[in-house]
């Protein structure tokens, strides 16, 4: 069992949790050490570095700052991907798509677009995928919940922003919509801003 000092433990935790490489001054500040006081931070870092030398993770110094990195020889290991698939029903897919394009959308609005009633199960399944999220409530009688897409949605479908969803012209271009559409048929430009819209209230506003 390797011995570790209290300061080394702290440095280890700091470097692990840090979102970017840390320089000595930052680490000193975290540890509450005055700048000009002599201390062994550097020595401790080198000791830690030596400890990790043979391990799967290395403590490296980049651009004068310290950070943990997985060992370079193991990089191949990190490229695999494993998915446990489960198919969404047609109703769920359609509802998801409508939420994506028409968000924020209430259940009634989704039904209006789909032309059929949406079973509660469909929304529940979509909530379970965590691709949609309850955003707020529409300022209309009954204060229905408005739904929108989540960051998980963007991640899953590989979009940077929701604006990358194909528009009318593109949908026609790939043959998903034909040219026989009635006048006034349009595909909205979606947005998924975190902030509520003018006609939305916070979810818990009507709470007990």
């Amino acid at each position: 069992m390797s011995n570790i000092t209290a300061q080394q433990r702290k440095l280890e935790a700091l470097l692990f949790a840090a979102t970017e490489p840390l320089d000595l001054r930052t680490m000193q500040a975290y540890l509450g050490i005055e700048q000009d006081v002599h201390n062994d931070i550097e020595k401790d870092l080198v000791a830690l570095q030596r400890h990790y030398e043979e391990r799967g993770v290395h403590l490296v110094k980049v651009a004068g700052k310290w950070a943990y990195r997985t060992a370079v020889d193991l990089s191949d290991l990190l490229e695999r991907h494993k998915v446990v698939p489960r198919k969404l029903s047609r109703a769920a897919l359609e509802t998801l798509a409508i939420i994506a394009y028409h968000q924020p959308a209430t259940r009634a609005e989704i039904e209006e677009i789909r032309g059929v009633t949406t079973s509660k199960g469909t929304l529940d399944v979509l909530l379970e995928t965590s691709w949609i999220r309850p955003r707020g409530r529409r300022m209309t009688p009954g204060r229905p919940v408005t739904y929108g897409t989540s960051d998980g949605f963007l991640e899953h479908f590989g979009f940077d922003t929701i604006k990358e969803l194909p528009g009318l012209a593109e949908l026609k271009g790939v043959g998903l919509l034909d040219n026989n559409l009635p006048a006034g048929f349009n595909v909205p430009l979606p947005h998924d801003d975190r902030e509520l819209q003018q006609d939305e209230l916070p979810l818990e506003d009507a709470d007990d």
Binding site: A17, Y68, P85, E94, G158, V174, L176
Partner: protein, 271 residues
């Protein structure tokens, strides 16, 4: 620390409640707001009277509750229905506890059983509150422990339970929108001429205005029956409208036998 803050606000809340309950004269200021239902109010009353929930006198607590609600009503405060339902039930429970059961009914639980059941519910709610507090006083991610701050190569490692690709999504969207378009517009066909009952009634009213004797309905509508498509819908709608008008006493209808012509006339204002 965030936890301390949490504590703080909980205590604040409790103190606030305490203040609400007690005024200077030792009685209490009745404020039913801030309670989350009758059980919450009963728990608060138990706390005010330092009652031990494990060995609680439901009778005493019921009396406290009823006093509280009575005072609130005396002050003409709006009391939500569920508080009043509980008050009524507690009055009933009180009578069951005070009066010995005369007609012992095997089906119905005894007063003691009802009281025990209420005590159980109070204890359970108290326990759940305590559990929630312990949960949030304990260690939490991003508060007491932290994950790796910098994600590396395998950030996309999400074992995705649901499978759908962008093509599925767009196909579903396009299909859904198209289905609605088809059902509303029926592209490629000329719009059918359909008579509504309303339109038929308007026509009938116009015609009836000039005619006050029996006449077959198709004769009255003859002006509209050239187009075979239109005649069918006009006739159907006029029939519907005539029934409605007959019911209202505007016209009279007569048919001598099944499939015979249907006659109608304006109903005269006779005495």
């Amino acid at each position: 620390m965030a936890d301390n803050e949490k504590h703080q606000s909980d205590e604040d809340w409790e103190r606030q409640q305490e203040c609400r309950r007690q005024d200077t004269s030792g009685g209490f200021i009745v404020d039913i707001e801030g309670f989350e239902g009758p059980l919450d109010l009963m728990l608060a009353l138990a706390r005010t009277h330092k009652l031990d929930l494990t060995n609680i006198s439901i009778l005493f607590l019921a009396e406290q509750y009823l006093t509280f609600v009575d005072k609130a009503r005396a002050l003409r405060l709006d009391i939500a229905a569920d508080y009043l339902v509980m008050a009524a039930w507690l009055t009933y429970l009180k009578s069951r506890l005070l009066l010995p059961d005369e007609n012992v009914d095997e089906e119905e639980p005894s007063g003691d059983e009802l009281a025990a059941r209420l005590a159980f519910r109070l204890k359970r709610l108290e326990a759940m509150r305590g559990a929630g507090k312990i949960l949030f006083d304990g260690n939490q991610l991003y508060s007491e422990f932290f994950p790796r701050g910098q994600s590396e190569g395998i950030t996309v490692l999400r074992t995705s339970l649901y499978e759908a690709d962008i093509y599925d999504l767009l196909t579903a969207y396009a299909a859904g929108r198209l289905r609605k378009v088809v059902s509303v517009v029926k592209p490629g066909l000329e719009r059918r001429k359909v008579w509504s009952i309303k339109k038929a009634r308007k026509q009938l009213e116009k015609i009836i205005g000039f005619n006050c004797d029996w006449a077959p309905i198709d004769a009255l509508l003859s002006g509209f029956l050239d187009d075979p498509v239109e005649s069918r819908t006009a006739l159907a709608a006029a029939f519907g409208a005539s029934l409605e008008m007959a019911r209202e006493g505007v016209i009279e209808l007569r048919q001598d036998a099944a499939f015979n012509p249907l006659y109608l006339r304006r109903k005269e204002e006779r005495e």
